[in-house]
């Protein structure tokens, strides 16, 4: 294993990587090494496994085969491969959304008593959007709303209700291009259909179908997930928390929640505070129960309860390698299969809870909303019992932990900028119009061992805020920046440009706002829509001086997010490595050039953080110019 400093800039990560090396435990970085060099056909998107006449490959050097057995060329093959990923990413977010809607339905029918309605205002807002009479009882509204929301998934005709949140001009573009999604499930199915052998062979049409499917995620499945989680579990408010592996506690029973869906972890939070269980923990010699999170499940419980975050995607194995984790509870998405193996090196119990996500040989305790709290208690109890099996000599918890503030939502941005009683986006818009703020950037996405861990996120974000760009974050990207101290108000003074500093100091916010998990990227879309509604920054989302990016992306979900950002008019830059489309020049040009004149947004690929900051800032400046805004106040 080569230098741990090249693997991550995070000291805690470096420390545990050294421990892993010493104990001969393989991590994602080692496994990447054994995968190298990676297949060139795969990297270029030129391998097609769609049908059994294949697998077919196109020769990127133009000497060998230029079409597959069926006659599909590089354009068709690369486009099909790409949009299949879009469908998969959309299905992940949207299936998550469906489960939340299903929980709402169960609670409205009285089938679960572990959950209730935590945010009645938001329930009513949503009900109104769906044309439900809000003068009815809470129970009736809940029933009607859950029915309406579940119908969004199976809807066949018309348009998703949430599309109306978008500016009129944006809605018109979608309609004109025929990419306004009709139903969440339908778009995924239809997209998959078009990519089978012998259906859609036009790369442009495939991309357009992909855009429609992605919109059904961003303005559909993900939005349902975000908004309903707020209704059931409560809308987040700014909250302080701690982050990095140092949040694990040596004398506590450490329970780590990992994955994406907060419905179960919410119960784990509750159970970790259960006096009966705490007493039990003390009984085995622990000082108490310490709950921490990884990935987006962490973001969810952080946003609502200030539960500490142990790390982002690439730290999931490392948390176990500290030797101090009694139980890791996982639900769905981004859970490395390798965890099962790593866990066997320690006393750690890995417990799967979702029937969709099981590991051979791993203990599975199925979780249902109907028995949620009982299951959570049972799991935590098994963690307490496991505490006695911890080998203290092998425990090594890094010291690193950092404060952060999370819990920003579109509503909170209203309130903190406009004040609780005159909630408005006006101050934000005015800050951009006046040039005190250059613009906005959404920095989101995963980790990828191809990229020095956290380096791209943090370098890029520092450069953006230095140039007076307010950064909105979600997912593992937010955790990366949090670990490096960018998510505390004090960061403004140290890192932000003068204009952004003035704003942060006036309202007491960090220069980087944590909006939540990756389904919460939908919060960015609604926030942007409010900005347009407020006025002064154009008529469409694509007019806002803003850019999006996923610097260390790896997941199919990131591609889908990119697709719905671009379809919503956002200039979106991907780091790490480009999409697997370079084998088709036509497709790559379509994504990175042509799309801008069609949907207002386009893709860009960039492998260097300072360069990425530069092109994002250039784009923001271009948009400022188009709006004829004043020059940025502090150059």
């Amino acid at each position: 294993m080569s230098d741990s400093k090249q693997k991550s800039i995070d000291l805690a990560t470096q420390e545990i990587l050294k421990k892993a090396q010493a104990e001969n435990i393989k991590t994602a970085w080692d496994r990447l090494e054994s995968q190298e060099p990676q297949c060139g056909f795969g990297q270029l998107g030129l391998c097609c496994t769609v049908c059994d006449m294949g697998p077919c490959r196109i020769d990127p050097f133009g000497e060998g085969a230029s079409v597959g057995v069926c006659g599909a060329n590089a354009d068709t093959i690369a486009a099909r491969n790409l949009v299949r990923k879009v469908a998969v990413g959309a299905s992940a977010h949207s299936d998550h959304g469906r489960d939340v809607a299903h929980t709402l339905s169960l609670l409205s029918e009285g089938h679960t008593h572990d959950y209730g309605i935590s945010d009645i205002e938001k329930l009513k807002d949503l009900a109104q959007e769906f044309g439900i009479d809000i003068n009815k009882t809470k129970e009736e509204i809940t029933k009607a709303l859950s029915k309406k929301l579940l119908e969004e998934f199976g809807r066949q005709e018309g348009e998703l209700v949430f599309l109306k949140r978008a500016p009129k001009k944006r809605q018109a573009i979608w309609k004109k291009l025929n990419i306004a999604p009709r139903g969440i499930d339908r778009e995924i199915v239809e997209l998959l259909h078009t990519t089978t052998m012998g259906v859609d062979n036009d790369y442009k049409n495939l991309v357009n179908t992909g855009l429609r499917c992605a919109l059904s995620d961003g303005w559909g499945g993900s939005m349902v997930a975000t908004d309903l989680q707020d209704v059931i579990l409560g809308a987040p408010v700014p909250i302080r928390g701690k982050v990095n592996l140092g949040v694990l506690k040596e004398n506590y029973v450490n329970i780590v929640v990992h994955g994406h869906e907060p419905i179960l972890s919410e119960m784990a939070v509750k159970a970790s505070k259960d006096p009966e269980l705490i007493k039990l923990a003390k009984g085995v010699g622990a000082e108490g129960i310490n709950l921490a999170g990884i990935c987006c499940t962490a973001n969810e419980v952080l946003m609502r309860h200030g539960i500490p975050v142990a790390g982002n995607f690439l730290q999931q194995e490392l948390a176990i390698i500290t030797g101090a984790v009694e139980v890791m509870i996982v639900d769905v998405q981004c859970i490395m299969p390798a965890l099962a193996e790593v866990a066997t090196c320690f006393h750690t119990k890995l417990i799967t809870t979702n029937p969709k996500a099981r590991f051979p040989g791993v203990n599975h305790i199925e979780f249902k909303p109907e028995n949620a709290y009982e299951v959570a208690k049972q799991i935590i109890k098994s963690g307490i019992e496991n505490f006695t099996k911890r080998n203290k000599e092998r425990v090594n918890i890094p010291k690193q932990e950092m404060d952060l503030v999370a819990g920003f939502t579109k509503e909170i941005i209203f309130q903190i900028l406009g004040g609780k009683y005159r909630a408005t986006y006006k101050p934000l818009n005015e800050a951009i119009i006046s040039g005190r703020l250059r613009g906005l950037a959404g920095v989101v996405g995963c980790n990828n061992p191809k990229q020095t861990h956290d380096y791209f996120h943090t370098t890029l974000v520092k450069e953006l805020i230095k140039n007076d760009v307010l950064v909105l974050q979600t997912g593992c990207s937010a955790i990366a920046c949090a670990k490096h101290g960018l998510l505390i108000p004090e960061a403004a003074k140290e890192y932000a440009g003068r204009g952004l500093q003035e704003i942060c100091e006036a309202v007491g916010i960090p220069p980087v706002l944590h909006l939540g998990s990756c389904v919460d990227n939908s919060r960015i879309l609604t926030a942007a829509s409010y900005i347009i509604k407020e006025g002064g920054l154009g008529e469409d989302l694509s007019d806002i001086p803003a850019a999006g990016c996923a610097p260390e992306w790896m997941s199919e979900k990131a591609i889908t997010i990119g697709f719905y950002f671009v379809a919503s008019g956002v200039y979106t830059v991907f780091g790490a490595s480009p999409f697997a489309t370079l084998g088709s020049k036509n497709l790559t040009d379509y994504l990175t050039k042509d799309l801008e004149s069609i949907v207002g947004g386009r893709f860009e690929f960039c492998a260097e953080p300072m360069q990425m900051a530069k092109i994002m800032i250039e784009h923001i400046d271009k948009k400022r110019q188009a709006l004829k805004l004043k020059p940025v106040m502090y150059q």
Binding site: P37, C39, G40, F41, Q43, L44, R57, P60, F61, G62, E63, P578, L582, G583, K585
Partner: protein
Amino acid sequence: MKMKKLYYDVKKCLGCKSCEIACAVAHSKSETLFSAIREEVLSLPRKKVLHHKDKNYPVSCRHCKDPICVDACMAAALVYDKEKGMVFHDESRCVGCWMCVMVCPYGAIRPNVKTKIPLRCDKCQDKDEPSCVKACPTGAILWQEEIELPAAVKGQSPSGTVPCKE
């Protein structure tokens, strides 16, 4: 001194063509995949994987000790370098007459009609080992000192004769 040579354990070759790609990239200007496929004059692999009876055979110049191609070269562009155990191709002398292609008994020299320069394995002289060796995901390409292979039964490659690794 014994020369290092390329050997192929054909039982392990999956026909993924990673060696072809790695070879083309290694001989491109940029030496990176994403840029190599956009270069004005495309680099082509000096190795081709061919299929025969359920096995895959990477075919490239073997650097024969009595190279017929060197005899055939009417431009004196080919020289057998004894020290290095390889046929050296001086591209500046090559006129693209394809005599070497005409006589290579393995079909291992392929014409690049665009550049008029024949494509031949150069054992990645500028690198510590040939790029195809690194690229092979199954370790089917072996880079090692010369060995004598046991006589094979025709039509059947010898089993259990994988030469020991360095």
